[in-house]
Symmetry: C2
Subunit: 368 residues, 2 copies
């Protein structure tokens, strides 16, 4: 798949990403993607990490999420604008780049709105593999927006969840989620309240989009032994769980410097103990250690997960996936001669114009 | 120029950027671009600023440079890899995005290798307008690589520089720079040493690319009244001027938190006095205040300059410039239904396949 010219960067459009997901199969894609994310959690120390760089405004946030393992560099651009749905736009839209560290040149530009939904779900399911009670089959899914079906399928594929209990403030969202999942062989129950949704669920996933401190789960709704997958609370001032739930839970996070600011734990003291998920994945730290324990994955999304996703897509393209090409990087004949490239471009244009004129004038005079 | 569909982002390729520069005219482009850069310096306080986020590796650096004025958000991706020229690549390659803060959606993706060269030169010339001695006509240009011709033309257009004294370790670079500039009506003298180049020059521009602490200028080479435009020293461990020159100079910088780490002043104590260029542009602080004063613009390049450049290009496109379109942002029929978009895409593919099959089978049976 290597492009022949230095100016060209492969580009995975929204359409190309949909083709890639569908050709691979959504469930297979989630399983393979999760393997990349988990593999990168296992080599956490190799990454040059930084909390994402956020630019907050009244209605939302724009973030850059860079990370490097010394061989590849990746960054994602992602916004978070809950009001966007009113104008037909996505709450979360994203794109990203994978680069070669040795040259600094981009290897791939990709849409990441779909890819982010997939990697977020894959990461949630990885965490639940280590934290959810054994034999969990039923998941409550509160917040039935853009992230919900991806969560459902990732938990089906990686944990064997076969029953979903859906709830959303907007019954249409629940209906849509149910319809979208109808052919994936899961039992789906639409519930009329969050309280009803959590009944009998071993796993509770919250994935709401409001940009404020909400209380999607109150303390009485969380019984012993449950695993909570809190996906929606992912910005300063945006949380989903009642403070008291946090005090009863063993809390697992991606990258503490970022989660302390953005996650559910922004409600706690800065020294409240949390466990990094990667330490559980490598076996250095325990995940779930008793049947009664409440485990909480305080997901905010970290740059390594996007890195893994771009690395996965890059490998899929090398194996034959479809992509477009962008003329993105100036490539003068002689690399130090950037200005000369402009001059030669002008000369070529002039020559083309002269050729055009002489051929026009030529054809005009043939009869004379 | 507004694209009709929410998934589409206008894209300015390398070719489209060359067309835009040539159609506008390189000198006019530099003049107009400088006006945007200077206008944004004048409203410096409106920007949400941060030092660029650098990922350093053995052979170079990859940086992200975000900034916002509350209405637009911009970031640039840029690498710096001095060894790249050996493989035919650019030392500095870049691309960037301008976004709408209200929705977080990208408005424009653009190549910025050429644009960075232009905005760097424009910014240098703006600084010199305020800092160089009156009536300056001769500039020494040390380092005749990719940045050199852009510097020459910006100083011609904005300051009236008519005589260039060129020097580079590589005589071929000097020859190329001289040839490239031959039709722009300047007197060009190729010199055999940096010492010879600075003779009689009122302005000294250094634009070398080595990633190390070099001494392009020694103390004895800088006479009273000279303005130094130090462009090449722009990363930790990468400087061009002897320490003693700094002690004799009035130093002007873009964004101190970034320049302290990356600029010539990394050689000085962290509390060494420097003046922010924007304060000179607004008239709050003095620029040059005596004929004997040595002024130094310690240029490293700041995010607002890229913001200004993208804003300028965006306005040019609205006025009719050429661009491509990218299918970059997922746009489901119903914004909360990202997964449904995947399902419908699959259904459309299936229907297309069925139509294809039935039309094939139809044409095969017409004769039967």
């Amino acid at each position: 798949m290597m492009p022949p010219k230095l100016n060209i960067v492969p580009f995975v459009s929204v359409e190309a990403m949909m083709d890639l997901v569908l050709t691979t199969g959504t469930e297979t894609f989630l399983r393979e993607l999760a393997a990349y994310v988990e593999a990168d959690f296992r080599r956490w120390d190799m990454f040059d990490k930084v909390a994402r760089i956020a630019s907050h405004s009244r209605d939302g946030v724009i973030e850059l999420m860079p990370v490097s393992d010394g061989r590849f560099y990746a960054f994602k651009y992602v916004n978070g604008h809950p009001k966007n749905t009113r104008s037909g736009r996505q709450t979360v839209a994203a794109f990203g780049v994978l680069s070669d560290v040795e040259s600094g040149y981009p290897l791939l530009l990709s849409e990441m709105t779909i890819l982010t939904a997939l990697r977020t779900a894959a990461t949630s399911a990885i965490a639940a593999k280590y934290l959810a009670p054994g034999g969990a089959r039923t998941m409550a899914l509160i917040g039935n927006g853009a992230q919900s079906e991806f969560q459902a399928l990732a938990f089906k594929v990686l944990l064997g969840i076969d029953t979903l209990r859906l709830y959303d403030l907007d019954p249409c969202a629940t209906q849509r989620c149910r319809n979208n999942l109808s052919k994936f062989g899961m039992t789906i129950i639409a519930c009329r309240s969050a309280e009803e949704a959590v009944e009998g669920a071993q796993i509770i996933t919250t994935a709401t989009a409001d940009k404020r401190n909400a209380t999607i789960l109150t303390d009485n709704m969380v019984g012993p032994g449950v695993h909570i997958n809190a996906v929606g609370g992912d910005a300063p001032g945006k949380t989903e769980l009642h403070h008291d739930i946090l005090l009863r839970s063993s809390i697992f996070v991606e990258y503490p410097p970022q989660t302390r600011v953005e996650g559910e734990i922004q409600q706690l003291n800065a020294d409240h103990p949390v466990t990094e998920l990667w330490r559980v994945v490598t076996g250095e730290k325990a995940g779930r250690d008793s049947d009664d324990q409440i485990t909480l994955f305080d997901s905010v999304g970290f740059a390594t997960e996007d890195f893994s996703a771009l690395r996965y897509v890059h490998d899929k393209l090398r194996a034959g996936g479809g992509f477009d090409t962008l003329d993105l990087v100036a490539d003068p004949d002689e690399p130090r001669d950037l200005f000369g490239m402009l001059l030669r471009h002008a000369a070529h244009k002039d020559e083309a114009l002269i050729r055009l004129r002489s051929s026009t004038s030529g054809s005009g005079t043939t009869g004379g």
